[in-house]
């Protein structure tokens, strides 16, 4: 689920299709599935800013991202100059990175999947998976609130016994227009470990989008990563060669 939320934050492309008003008590798994389908169900092009904050320093990176469905993602850093050209390509659950400094495309091995992505609070694993949240968990609707004309669903997702997920449970807060409000990760003792929060929600690219999202560990409130969407466009025509290793290395778009 971590994966999904991450994708979310990086590529934020929630569709603004309100849940069917007729359903009195919508099915939790369907909300989650619907959310994923809608935010990754189409292609998108976005420009983002990522702020990595630490107690004694902070750095800001600008990047551009392309997505197609929930399986293909390409992210490339544009600013600052020294990181320019660093890129990450994800196809299914496999991930490659490219750094112009070493001029090599590196496939991220399993041993590095739990390491941080570009020094942020997202792990490679957070970033590279998307749809596991649907079938690797047991979803339960645990709360419904109404505020500001929107219904917000709180869904508790407990991973299956053999799911490759370390968390004891995750709690997703999803608005009825599929904008993810929050995503909390609890350990197996029920303690909150880290959470993703949408700080700002607005209209962009013709949809409701979480414009600013922050991921941080609960233990260290001074350490967080914030992703801000500067511009996003949905339903763009993407050439097949966008999501290739050669494009990762030699940008043509």
């Amino acid at each position: 689920m971590a994966k999904q939320s991450a994708i979310l934050s990086v590529v934020i492309s929630l569709l603004a299709h309100p849940l069917a008003a007729s359903a009195q008590q919508p099915d939790a798994a369907e909300i989650v599935r619907g959310a994923i389908d809608h935010w990754r169900g189409t292609s998108s092009y976005s420009e983002m800013t990522m702020i990595i904050h630490r107690p004694d320093w902070q750095r800001t990176m600008s990047m551009r991202g392309w997505t197609e469905g929930d399986k293909r993602t390409l992210v490339r850093v544009t600013e600052p100059q020294k990181d320019r050209g660093n890129g990450t390509l994800m196809i299914d659950n496999t991930m490659w990175t490219y750094s112009p400094k070493v001029n090599r495309v590196i496939k991220i091995p399993s041993s590095m999947m739990s390491q941080s992505w570009m020094g942020s609070d997202f792990s490679n694993k957070d970033i590279s998976r998307s749809d596991d949240i649907v079938d690797q968990y047991e979803h339960n609707l645990i709360g419904t609130t109404e505020a500001g004309g929107h219904v917000t669903y709180e869904i508790q997702s407990v991973p299956h016994e053999d799911a490759a997920v370390v968390w004891g449970k995750e709690v997703l807060t999803v608005r009825d227009d599929y904008v993810l409000i929050g995503h909390e990760f609890y350990d197996q003792d029920g303690m909150l470990v880290k959470k993703l929060t949408s700080l700002e929600i607005g209209e962009m690219g013709g949809r409701s989008v979480a414009i600013r999202q922050r991921m941080g560990k609960v233990d260290e409130p001074d350490e967080w990563t914030e992703v801000r969407i500067d511009a996003i466009e949905y339903g763009v025509e993407l050439n097949d060669n966008v999501f290739t290793q050669s494009n990762l290395r030699n940008p043509r778009n």
Binding site: N93, T94, K107, P109, S110, S111, M113, S114, P159, H160, E161, D162, A163, A164, V165, V166, W167, G168, F185, D187, Q188, V193
Partner: protein, 409 residues
Amino acid sequence: MYMLRIMSTLAWRNLWRNHRRTIIMISAITIGVWAMIFMTALMRGMVNEMVRDGIRALPGHVQIHGRGFLDDPGINNLLPMKDEDVTASFDAAGFDAWAGRIRVPAVVTSERDSRGITLYGIDPVRERDITFVAGDIVEGRFLEDADDSGVVIGRKLADNLETELGKRIVIMSQDPDNEIADRGFRIVGIFEARLEAYETSMLFAGKSAIQKMLNVPDRINEVVVLGDDYRNVDPVVRKVTDLVGPGVEVLPWYEVDSYLGTMMTVMDGFVLVWMIVVFLALSFGLVNTLVMAVFERVREIGLMMALGMRPTSILLQIVIESLLLLLLGLLIGNVLAGATVYWLRDGIDISVVAAGMEMFGASSLLYPQLTAHDVVLANVVVLILGSIASLSPAWRASRYDPIEAITKV
């Protein structure tokens, strides 16, 4: 022969003319021999424990791998034959104990941390006779069968990951196509090993579960066979080689774990060096005693020569005297060493220095081990080198000029 008897009688009586000196010398030899044998037994015991522990910590006596496995121990060097074929042929061959494993490097992740480890997919039923883990479970249980979906991890690793018995962890590795293979497992058992390194670096899971996770159904990459004695594994190696044929690597434990293997070889050399060093210290005392004995008896020797005793007999007499001295010392020394080893047969507790011992893989209980080979070696070294050392004073005694010797004051 008659001559020899006279010489022996003379030597024996001469020995007890100055019994205080003789007793001191015999004590010195006794202590030397005791030190040689007992200390060797101690060191043997230590190495023995190390090797046995080392073997129980997974290598077994003989291992079988695909070629290249030792250079790249992972999923890409599987055994060419199928798991079930291995099972059929090894069961038919009637080994004391054997087990197939799948062993890959992996990363284990908890909510708070992740660690690199070696993942062992094992058949717990077979593995019980081979590895230490089954007996060292301190919490929970050992795996029940190859399909068990739980894992057993070390106490220290659990602490590092801030997880505990009953919680889930995620194991990540790679399948043969270099695709990520991962799965969640519940911790069903926690083991403690004598060496911390084992606790942090090993993780055991059911073989079938791992085969499924890694997408290599019915394949393994390691077979371990146990014979009856780790010092004599060649017959097992031969038997296994005949069984599996070419195309795979059959290695005895001392090549799999060359540190342990080298340990044994170094030990043999060390024992000899130790004995010679002890003997050298001893030989100065011996030579000095004999020189004194000869010096005291210059006139007597001159007289015997004047009466017609041959220089050879003089030489013989002195050498026999030293041999008697050595034999007495050896006898008492051997008995004493044997008694000490017997007395300490339940082991010596050296836990005071356990932390240091652990560093090079030894345990904190030391069992001295007496081997016939070492005892014979000690006795032979003392007898042969002792006789050689006594040759110099004996030679000098036999070279005296009778007239000069008699008139010497």
